[in-house]
């Protein structure tokens, strides 16, 4: 479904990621691990068309989407949950969800405000409140819910656990596991391995802008020295 072929990108003249490739089949999930500054965010943003790819191809469901505008990419069926969440603070929770509302690429629209509220009852209780008053965990749920309102086939999540309390991370992990069961593919960047493995079975590890390891979590568990070297744990 998503075939990222040797992409390169950066900021100004500074290179941030180089020769990054990975594949993702429909309803499959992949985690990108890596330390701060490894290039995870840049990779997701390049897929999303928010930073330009200097080289390489990105094929989504058979079409080349590299360097298309981000709205075109979103309408092709990719939902994006940015690292900073970027919810619209002056809008209410429900209004935030409505900004993401659109039919999926296939024309179907199973996600509604009600269904998002079923998945995240925490924010349902705050539906009329300005989103700026939400807690960190609630903001993250809102950002995920907003992306789901666009009925994506693939969900990009950039470090969803960042800054969240362990209980909230668990809660998010359950929700992501549930989403996987419903058939949405997930590409998640994380430093929290526990959440990453709840959300995905395959993993790539990035180091200084390049892919340094690829495999499954099961394989990774057998090689603690890789984790120690690339993730420093």
């Amino acid at each position: 479904m998503l075939d990222v072929q040797s992409i390169q990108s950066g900021y100004g003249k500074a290179l941030a990621i180089d020769d990054v490739s990975f594949q993702l089949e429909a309803s499959e999930s992949l985690a990108i691990l890596g330390r701060n500054g490894a290039g995870k965010t840049t990779t997701l943003k390049t897929v999303m068309g928010m930073t330009p790819a200097w080289q390489g191809r990105i094929v989504f469901k058979g079409d080349d989407i590299v360097n298309l505008s981000s709205d075109t990419i979103a309408r092709a069926g990719i939902g994006y949950v940015p690292e900073e969440r970027r919810i619209f603070e002056s809008l209410s929770v429900t209004e935030n969800l409505l900004t993401g509302e659109k039919a999926g690429a296939s024309g179907a629209a199973p996600w509604t405000v009600e269904r998002v509220f079923e998945l995240f009852p925490e924010i349902a209780r705050r539906s009329m409140a300005p989103a700026g008053t939400l807690s960190g965990g609630e903001r993250q749920m809102l950002a995920v819910g907003r992306a789901l309102m666009g009925n994506p086939d693939l969900l990009l999540l950039d470090e969803p656990s960042e800054g969240l309390a362990p209980v909230v991370v668990n809660r998010l992990g359950d929700a992501l596991a549930e989403l996987r069961k419903s058939g949405i593919a997930i590409l998640i960047s994380e430093q929290n391995r526990r959440l990453a493995r709840l959300a995905a079975e395959n993993v790539v590890i990035m180091e200084t802008g390049r892919i340094a390891y690829r495999g499954t979590f099961t394989d990774l568990d057998k090689n603690p020295e890789i984790t120690a070297r690339l993730l420093g744990v």
Binding site: Y11, G12, K13, M48, G49, M50, S69, S70, D71, A74, R75, Y80, P82, R86, F88, E89, S90, L91, E95, N96, L98, T99, G100, E101, K102, R146, A147, G150
Partner: protein
Amino acid sequence: MGFYFAQFLTGLASASSLFLVAAGLSIIFGVTRIVNFAHGSLFMLGAFIAYSISQKFGFWLAVPLAALSVGAVGWAMERTVLSRLYGAPELFQLVATFGLVLIVQDAALWIWGPTDLLGPRAPGLTGVVRIFDQPIPEYDLFLIAVGVSVLAAIWWMFTRTRFGILVRAATEDREMLQALGVRPARLFQATFFIGAALAGLGGALEMPRQPASLLMDLNIIAEAFVVVVIGGMGSVTGAFLAALLIAELNAFGILILPEITLVAAFAAMAVVLVIRPYGLLGRPATSAPHAVEIQPPQTLGQTGRITALGLVIALVVLPFVAGDFVIVLTADIMIFALFAAGLHFMMGTGGLVSFGHAAFFGIGAYAAALLVNNAGLGMEIALFLAPVFAAIGAAVVGWFAVRLSGVYLAMLTLAAAQILWSASVQWQDVTGGDDGILGIWPAAWASGTTAYYYLTFALTTSGIVSLMMLARGRFGILLRAGRDAPARAQALGIDIKLRNWTAIVIAGSAAGLAGGIFAFSKGSVFPDTLAIPNSVDALVMVLLGGLHAPAGPILGAGVFALLEDSLSRLPYWRALLGAAVVGIALFAPGGIAGSLSKWLRRRREGTA
């Protein structure tokens, strides 16, 4: 009591149109981050179009049709010009909308002619009602109702429709909204249509109150700027409150001191900005993305230095070989080169836009004239004090502007120039109004064409050279750092606000010196030294010459003078200037110097 209440209602009625214009301006700014200087022009078009339609179809059909037509004009502006500039530096967006002002101005002159056109009164609302025994025009009450209804309608749209929710989201984070799949182009077009239609409605509703005239555009835009700055950029409710405030201030101010109503508005804005820097209901704007690297200064190369030397020699020997006409023309060019050099310094090196730079030129000219005529001082002291007064004016405007984002400076300078201009026209006792101040002649030793030419040469050259040295030196480096990488400059401990403020004051005093020299060279001062066309001339010179070329203002002033000499007799010369401004913003942001060096580079690479 009854009289004051009537006056209060008159104020409310005037607030309506002002609110409609300001609301449109604010909505467009919120979504596109563009301050549409042509918004007053849309208001003016609304009045003219409504007049034309009303001649055939009557008042009540004319109002909505005019609003829709102006909406379409706004949409077309967005499609043809502004949509090409969303990625461009803010400065070029501002400049392009400013070019549109000039084009619309002449288009209106061409279509409707120079005379004011008084439209029909509103059938059914021509009478008066008595409230507290005072006659209140029914139409005023209608206008108040319209203002409140439009506010309610906008509120409904913003909270109850998907379009409104998207507009509010875009005001907060456009990039995120796009990543959710929302097409920005459609949102921008719709926003421009609605914003323009509101301005058109405001203009159309003025029909029974004031005739459609070619002065409406700049008058309303200055006031609308004051309103959105007071209300908070991007806030419609803020615009409503501020429109009320300004309109009431005008309604009651006119009872006390008719000459200073605009000045009072400006003072009110100053007070609000001191207390709430982002306006009553505004919030700090998320700053636009900036270049990451600090661009190096462009300096005069070997050829440049030789040309400069040649130019200086040519200017020195000119009076020996040329006649009076050429000498006076050359002196004028030097004066305007200094005027433009100051603007170029703040715009090019500092990235600080001024659309009302003539304000400082005019302050210098009037200060010189009044010091000689009223205070009885000599030319030398007057020429020394002219830039000082202009610097004080620039310090006041700049003090507010540097606390806010770049668009505020452009708006505040334009508003300041417009206010000073109306003050110079209205304050007859001091300024002589439209008759100006006459008989300002140089001291005996400097009188005569040649002597004054050399004085002009000495003052303007030293002014321009000082500006060039400042731009190249340490001050210029720090200024550019603030322009290109404000976050980093701040982190390095550079006080950007202080630098920018200083740059504005320097640019203002250069304009003031030019204004002072100008006053003595002409022997008189008129309000048009302060008027918008004079600001536009300086702006065109800077852009034409090249914003980032050191010789830009000299080249620009020279070419402009030649063009003006040959083209200004054409009937629609202002529209040509406007088209040139838009063209430069769209196709040749480097001006003549930029295009020339690009062409030279390409040729060199081609032959190599």
